[in-house]
Symmetry: C2
Subunit: 258 residues, 2 copies
C-alpha cells in the first residue's frame, strides 16, 4: 500500500473574463469556477492578481488628465519616464527611495517599497484611445476582505483571499509574487518559541506565508497576458487567525538589512 503524500493543488480557471471598472470579481470568480466544474470548499484560498482588483475598483487614471507638478517635471528626465506617470507615482508615495535612469523606487503610501508605486501601464484597457495608468487598490486588505464576504454570500464558503503583485527585490534578480492584501488567513506564520526535533529554537521563526502563497500562484498566473488572473490554492494545512497583508511590511525602523 502506498504511504501517504501531502499535496497542494493550484488551479486556475481558463477564460476568466476581461475585467472592467465596476465588475463584481466575486461573481466572476464563482461563475468561472462553476464553468470549470470546480466547487469552492472550506480551506480554499483564492489568489487575485492585483491588476484585476484595481481594474474592478476603477483605479484607472487617464494620463491626459494629469498635470505634472514641479517635482515630477524635475524627476521625469532623471528616470526617463513620462512626467505624468511620475506625477502619479509621487502622489501614491510617501518618499522616493531611489531614482535613476529607468528606475523609480518609492515607499508607497501603503508602506510597500516598490518600483513606480506599483503603477502599471501594461495590459491596461484603453477605452478611449488615450493613455491610461492603473494604480494599486486603495486598500488591498479591505479589498480582499470584501471579495471574501461576497464569495461567502455567493457560495456559502469563506475562502482565504490573497491579492498578489510582483515585486522586485534588492538583492535578487527578477520579480516574485507577494501579497499586498489578504483576508481569512494569517499573512505571516509566527513559529517563535517552537523548537526543532532536537529542542533547539528554530532558525526560521517568522514565515512570510501570504507572500509564499502569492509566489506559488504566480507560477500558474503567468505574466503579462492576463489569461489566468485568479488561482485557487487547495490543500494548505496551515490555518490560523486572520492577519492582514499589512503585517508583511517591515517598518523602516526595523530594517535590519540597511
Amino acid at each position: 500500500m502506498a504511504l501517504p503524500a501531502s499535496q497542494l493543488q493550484l488551479i486556475a480557471p481558463e477564460n476568466f473574463p476581461r475585467v472592467r471598472p465596476g465588475d463584481d470579481l466575486a461573481a466572476q470568480t464563482a461563475a468561472a469556477l462553476a464553468r470549470a466544474g470546480i466547487g469552492l470548499a472550506d480551506g480554499d484560498i483564492l489568489v487575485y492578481a492585483q491588476k484585476i482588483v484595481s481594474k474592478a475598483e476603477g483605479r484607472l487614471v487617464n494620463l491626459a488628465a494629469v498635470s505634472p507638478g514641479p517635482q515630477a517635471l524635475e524627476l521625469a528626465p532623471v528616470v526617463a519616464k513620462d512626467p505624468r506617470l511620475v506625477e502619479l507615482v509621487l502622489r501614491e508615495s510617501r518618499r522616493v527611495v531611489r531614482a535613476a535612469k529607468d528606475v523609480l523606487i518609492v515607499e508607497h503610501r501603503l508602506g510597500f517599497i516598490m518600483a513606480n508605486a506599483g503603477i502599471d501601464q501594461s495590459n491596461v484597457a484603453d477605452p478611449s484611445g488615450g493613455d491610461y495608468a492603473l494604480l494599486l487598490p486603495q486598500d488591498p486588505d479591505a479589498s480582499a476582505a470584501r471579495i471574501r464576504e461576497q464569495l461567502h454570500g455567493l457560495t456559502g464558503c469563506r475562502p482565504g483571499v490573497v491579492i498578489s503583485d510582483s515585486f522586485g527585490r534588492p538583492w535578487r534578480i527578477g520579480t516574485v509574487g507577494v501579497a499586498i492584501g489578504c483576508a481569512g488567513l494569517p499573512a505571516t506564520l509566527d513559529l517563535r518559541g517552537q523548537a526543532d526535533l532536537f529542542g533547539r529554537p528554530l532558525r526560521v521563526s517568522i514565515v512570510g506565508h501570504a507572500d509564499e502563497i502569492a509566489s506559488a500562484a504566480s507560477l500558474l498566473m503567468g505574466q503579462g497576458r492576463e489569461g489566468r488572473p485568479v488561482v485557487l490554492l487547495r490543500g494548505l494545512a496551515a490555518g490560523g487567525a486572520h492577519q492582514p497583508a499589512s503585517a508583511l511590511r517591515r517598518p523602516g525602523t526595523e530594517d535590519l538589512f540597511k
Copy 2:
C-alpha cells in the same frame, strides 16, 4: 462540459528518511516516491530543502573544533552569538553587511545576502552530544545538477531540481523560500521584449522563476520539523533553457534598491 482549468500539483512524500552525511539523496527520493506510489515524469521539478542537501554532503561542523579568530571574538558580543558560530559565518562570507544584537547579515561567498551565512543549528543531528552547525552546500548549483543526473540514472527521467532555503527580506517581514541551486530549468524567465495584450512592453520583465518555485514548495515543506524536505512540483508549463540559481544573485553594482 466544463471548461479547462490549468493546474499545478505540489506533492511531498511523507516519512522521508532522516538524512545523514554520505546519504544518496537521489536514491532516497526515488524510494520515497515509489513508497508513496508516485512515478516521476518528464517535466516534474523536485525541490530539496537545503538542509538535507547540506547534511548529505557532510557540511556539518563540530563547533568544539572551531577556534574563533580576533574578528569573530570582537563581533560575537555585538551580535550576541557564539564566537565559534560567528567564526564559521565569517569563513563562509565575503563581507559583513550588518551586525547588531541578534542580527548578522553577510554576503555569503556564493554571493547571497543572508543572515548568518545560511548556517543552521536547528534540526542538526548531534551524533556525539556536541554542538554542530550546518553550512550551505559548497556549490548548490552543482549539487542540483548532480542530483538530477543521479535521478536520471535511477528513473530514466530528468526532472528539474531546485535546492531551496529560507531567506529574510529587507523590506518585508518573514522569510520566504528562495532557490540557492537549480538544474534543468531556467532560474529566471526573461520576458523582456514581450508585449502585453495591447502591445505595450511588459512592466514585469524578468521573473524570479526558481525563487517562486522554492516559495511554493515551502508551503508544503513546512518549517523546522523536517518532515517533508522534498517536494515534487508537477504541471509547470514554463520550460526553457537551463540557467543556474546563481543567475538570481544581483551583483552589488546593480543593486537598484540601495
